[in-house]
């Protein structure tokens, strides 16, 4: 293994490889920062440029692009409350309040450092466990996936603030929205009103843009051009003292581990990783009440987890040829144009490929962090743009981002409706997080629930015959019920006191 790793690092003797890593990181950083674009698109666009290139050079560039683009989503989430992917939603929860408090530079610095650390830690896991853990992940059948999605959904109670009833209503709204589209098993259209636009379900990116960014614009308009906090300029290399970053080391280590493991399971991916580690960090924090109001801990856990999921998603890709995420699936296409077909033989047939990827993840991170820290100084100034101008710019980004997601008008309509619905929900103090969580997980939950029962022809034993399913279902039940018991006990005490 160490021999091969040395082989991987040796490829960086070629200056072209360095150039490729820089270019990849830079493009990825920009593409990720624009809502509606994302790592998959970035890689697909870059594929034609890799023809005739040395495979190692092109793979290093694409990996750098992938990780930088995955990070880039944090920038728009922090600065303008516009998460371009579900994975960056939890980043916006604490990042945007920090920006509003004039601490954008701090938020960007914490996010880039956590992201970088997430990738470094996760890559170490990847080198050590890619093959055995990927083989283990194969045991995840439909029953296990259903239980995992349910665990994700059970986080609603931990993530939503305010009334549990309103949280539940918001969750069911998300679940209801997730049922729109062609039925995956039978192909029957559901709630499509005969319009083919609805066949593939409600598109996620426009809903994210609407619920978060457009809603924010409406709130800004309501507040008017009132006084706003001047952001603190970044003076040194880091906008936060080293001590603050060191204080986050446990949060980052824990979230990176969660991120890696969730990333390895095909189909789970960065968004579940970010939500899960955010919920865990909140539960374990000394100051859980600060979460959602600009907690650096929350920001660090979301960002380290969603970036740690990237090397995680590469594990089944490299070990078995099974992509762990949509972007990893695009990587397969990129490798194929080089004549490399990822599969179970990759490690034995062409070990230089996986080990170069490992090396490029480690070498790519400092490059990405450097680009990120340099960029943070410029980006942080975005927070100083007068509010009316910001509102106009964000609205523009929402429309362009929604259109770009499928080059058609339909996502724009979805985005506008989601923005208006989100505004009403916000005014009525319904939390938005459960809507997104349920929308992301609802489809995964339903498909796997039905797939499980189809494979057993209706035998429910599929949900209690596998130990892994049972454990996951118990975790979900506890996560749902414990807060409910707590609330009930508080209520009883209050009754007794009066």
């Amino acid at each position: 293994m160490f021999e091969n790793l040395a082989l991987g690092f040796a490829s960086f003797a070629d200056p072209m490889v360095w150039a490729s890593a820089f270019v990849g990181a830079f493009i990825g950083y920009l593409i990720g920062a624009i809502p509606g674009l994302g790592p998959s698109l970035g890689i697909a666009l870059l594929i034609p440029f890799t023809y005739g290139m040395d495979p190692v050079v092109s793979i290093v560039g694409l990996v750098a692009l992938y990780v930088a683009a995955e990070y880039g989503g944090a920038i728009s989430a922090i600065l303008i409350n516009s998460p371009g992917t579900a994975a960056a939603v939890a980043t916006a929860w604490d990042g945007y309040p920090l920006t509003k408090a004039g601490r954008a530079g701090e938020a960007l610095t914490v996010s880039i450092v956590s992201s970088g650390m997430g990738i470094i830690i996760s890559t170490a896991f990847l080198v050590a466990t890619a093959v055995p853990l990927s083989e283990f992940a194969l045991r995840f059948g439909p029953g296990e996936y259903f239980a995992l999605a349910l665990v994700g959904l059970s986080l609603v109670s931990g993530l939503s603030t305010g009334s549990p009833l309103k949280g539940a209503v918001a969750m069911f709204l998300g679940l209801a929205l997730a049922t729109v589209g062609l039925d995956v098993q039978t192909g029957v259209p559901r709630f499509t009103a005969g319009n083919p636009e609805f066949f593939e379900g409600l598109p996620l990116v426009p809903i994210l843009l609407g619920l978060y960014a457009l809603t924010e614009v409406l709130v800004m308009i309501e507040d008017g051009a009132a006084a706003k906090t001047k952001s603190v300029p970044i003076k040194k290399l880091l906008a936060v003292p080293m001590g603050t970053l060191l204080g986050l080391k446990m949060v980052i280590a824990r979230s990176s581990t969660i991120g890696y493991i969730i990333g390895v399971i095909p189909g789970a991916g960065p968004s579940i990783a970010a939500f899960l580690s955010y919920a865990v960090s909140k539960k374990l924090s000394d100051k859980p009440e600060t979460f959602g109001h600009g907690a650096l801990e929350g920001l660090a856990s979301s960002e380290s987890a969603n970036n740690a999921a990237v090397p995680g998603s590469l594990a089944p890709l490299l070990a078995l040829g099974i992509p762990g995420s949509a972007t990893a699936a695009v990587m397969i296409g990129a490798l194929m144009v080089q004549g490399i077909q990822p599969g179970p033989l990759l490690f034995t047939k062409s070990p230089e490929i996986p080990y170069t990827i490992f090396a490029s993840l480690w070498i790519g991170v400092p490059i990405m962090v450097f680009v990120g820290l340099a960029g943070a100084r410029i980006w942080a100034k975005v927070a100083d743009i007068p509010r009316p101008a910001i509102a106009a710019i964000v609205t523009g980004i929402c429309f362009v981002g929604a259109y770009a997601s499928s080059n058609s008008m339909f996502p724009i309509y979805v985005m506008v409706v989601a923005g208006l619905v989100g505004y009403v929900l916000r005014k009525l103090e319904f939390p938005l997080a459960p809507v997104i969580l349920a929308l992301v997980l609802g489809e995964m939950m339903e498909i796997n629930f039905r797939r499980a029962l189809i494979t057993t022809r209706g035998d429910w034993a599929v949900f209690y015959s596998s130990p892994m399913t049972v454990i996951l279902l118990l975790v979900a039940a506890l996560a749902f019920l414990l807060p409910a018991f707590g609330a009930l006990r508080g209520l009883v005490r209050k009754r007794r006191a009066t």
């Binding site: 034609p48 593939e200 949509a326 699936a329 077909q341 499928s406």
Partner: protein, 331 residues
Amino acid sequence: MKIWNFKTALVGAACAGVLSLGLAGPAAAQEGWKPTGPVNFVMHTKPGGGTDVMIRSLAHSLEPMIGQTVVVVNAPGGGGATQMAKVAASAPDGLTLAVNTVSHFTSMLTNLKGTFAPEDFEWIALMQVDPILFFAAKESPLKDMKDLVELARSKEGQINIGGFGPVGSMQNIGMSMLEQAAGVRFNWVAFESTPDIIAAVLGGHVDVGVANLGPVIEYFAADRLKGLGVLGDNRLSSVPDMQTFGEQGYTVDTSWLQVRGVFGPKGIDPALQQQIADAIFRAMEAETYQTYARAAGVEDGAFGPVEYTAFVKNIMTIAEEQLGAAGLLTQ
């Protein structure tokens, strides 16, 4: 049933295509396709899928030949409807083209019936054919299709077959054809991507999977998966041991193949269509494209507008029969 025998037609045309490409090369260069502006290829998928990578590879070698930029426009959504609407609304000048698979035809008979029909478009070139095959995990007791059919008979249909798309999809129809030929029933488990099917077969969550060769070939080589049979006329050259359905005694219509073709809006001049098809076939000879196509495990098709239009008609007939038999036709 008046069916054109595509088995021979396809093989014949493939050979003829190779020959005519060699012969027609210089002539085509003289009066080749000279578009007056950038050419758009509208995709029904998100960026980065198998078909998307195919068209980007092709665009790369097509651009220098036609002296124009080739832009890949991703218009996912609506089960292809977003793409087809864009194509239908464009001018028939050859500057807006699109890529299709068999799912375009099955959806025009079901969910998109009344919205789009093959007559609304020009079918210009068939670029790839890709037969489907059935596979099982290495550990499985099944060795071939006969074992599978026997098992299905003894367990009264309690055999899970994982494949791409819902009931009525291209692969599901392939399974139905086998059911009819063998007189058994299987249990269809729908998946949304081929890697998911492979993972489910490797993990033992379904008994048998359906796929095209490309995504599974490495697993055959690594001895993790084994092929049970291929729905085609001939065995696959890279998996010579795997018999066809026909060889194992199950006669099915072997023109039921996954395809990737190029189509455009109604009204493109037939001469221009031929020029476009010729240019595409020549671009497919480029080394970069061939590297990709061989890694992807697909076979090159070489049907021009006339043959492809006839092919589409035949595919529609088979799909209509099969979907009708399954009670899936939208009234």
